[in-house]
Symmetry: C2
Subunit: 242 residues, 2 copies
């Protein structure tokens, strides 16, 4: 019954389960017992790989944010695109964040997961704000922006972006759209850009994303349904392993 795996493999296994569990029940409500039971390992094994429960959380945050930051960095350093699109693209890359952390992002904003939320925001801000600031300075030089405080402007933009759209859950589509338009306009004003310049950039990006989403739509449908029914395990405890 004893299965030995490489440290890296087992670590990822733990992170996978923990991520799902934290997102499902919240960091406090999901116990380390839940984790080890679902994987089928012993208590000692968990603590052989991670020094504490919070250590696991940190690793999860690191894993999720790494992708988003890398994506943003890639977009920013792609000097083929015009500056406006690089800026808006980078900001979008962090929030929409498909694939991996989607389930986490859905549940992250509940009061339960305040810690997770804060840690992700911290890391996201620390990693991306400097890049955005550099971008703004570049815009200053090229004349499309006119910002006296690039670093602070970048911070303001990112903080708002990562905090304002938390309430998505109980917001209607039209409100979200209005909020998005307001956000773009305000960014333009903060950066001293010509009005409408970022709006255009964002439209281009979204169009591009919609097209690529269209392309791989077929395979997604089944997964969607499965995820919805899976929600809560319901029957817990009552272990009977002879």
């Amino acid at each position: 019954m004893r299965v030995v795996k490489s440290a890296e493999e087992r670590k990822n296994e733990i992170l996978d389960v923990a991520e799902q569990l934290f997102a499902e029940k919240g960091f406090d409500n999901a116990s380390t017992n839940d984790i080890i039971k679902q994987i089928g390992i012993a208590r000692g094994t968990l603590y052989h790989h991670f020094s504490s429960k919070e250590d696991i959380l940190d690793a999860i945050v690191e894993r999720i944010t790494r992708n988003g930051i890398a994506r943003a960095r890639a977009i920013i350093s792609n000097t083929d695109m015009p500056l406006q699109e690089r800026l808006t693209g980078a900001v979008l890359a962090l929030n929409i964040s498909g694939e991996a952390g989607e389930e986490v992002f859905e549940q992250i904003h509940k009061p339960q997961n305040a810690l997770l939320h804060q840690k992700m925001q911290e890391r996201l801000l620390g990693g991306v704000v400097p890049l955005i600031a550099a971008l703004i300075e570049e815009g200053n030089r090229s004349g499309i922006f006119e910002s006296e405080y690039p670093a602070e402007a970048a911070e303001m933009i990112m903080i708002y972006a990562s905090a304002a759209f938390d309430e998505h859950l109980d917001l209607k589509a039209e409100e979200i759209e209005r909020k998005g338009r307001a956000f773009i306009l305000h960014i333009e004003r903060i950066l001293g850009a010509e009005e409408g310049i970022l709006r255009e950039a964002i439209m281009k990006i979204l169009l591009r994303q919609m097209k690529s989403a269209e392309r791989k739509k077929a395979g997604t449908e089944k997964e969607e349904k499965q995820r919805r029914t899976h929600r809560k395990p319901c029957r817990e405890g009552k272990r009977s392993d002879p």
Copy 2:
């Protein structure tokens, strides 16, 4: 040995101790045992007045934010002052927030207290953003602002205000000042106000505050020292009422 008090009295007593403890050690690290031991009541008594530990936290958040919101509301509705000063005054009223919650505010931003932080921010935003939005609309009508999205602008301002100055702890004075200047400039831009108009308003308010602080400096000196040494009670319990 059994001391009976009115429910309200006892509740406040619990909140006082809990607030101090949460601020000192963080919500998770402070246990309900710490609370009841320091007050000298039994477990059952605590849970007679509050249904859970989190319920206590909610009550604390409510108590603290109530003051700040009331202060902001008072400033906003004081139509004797010019609009600019009411706006900046209201924003300042929430963050500086002297007296009551000061000790809490000092400790609130540590990763330990993510939950407290989030709950306070939520309540603060929900309570004040509508007021600020109304103020912006008033400014639109009187011609000093030109904002197409007053509600969203207010939200952006408040979110940034309550999140950006979290790192005060490890920031140098000059950085804070720079950040403050940038913040004001960015607000002016977001609201489409004439540049410098809010800067002036803030200077007036700060001057006024400094003066009033000067006035009651004499009586405060003793208290100040007392409070500093008071920090940790150290000797707990040991009540002897014959």
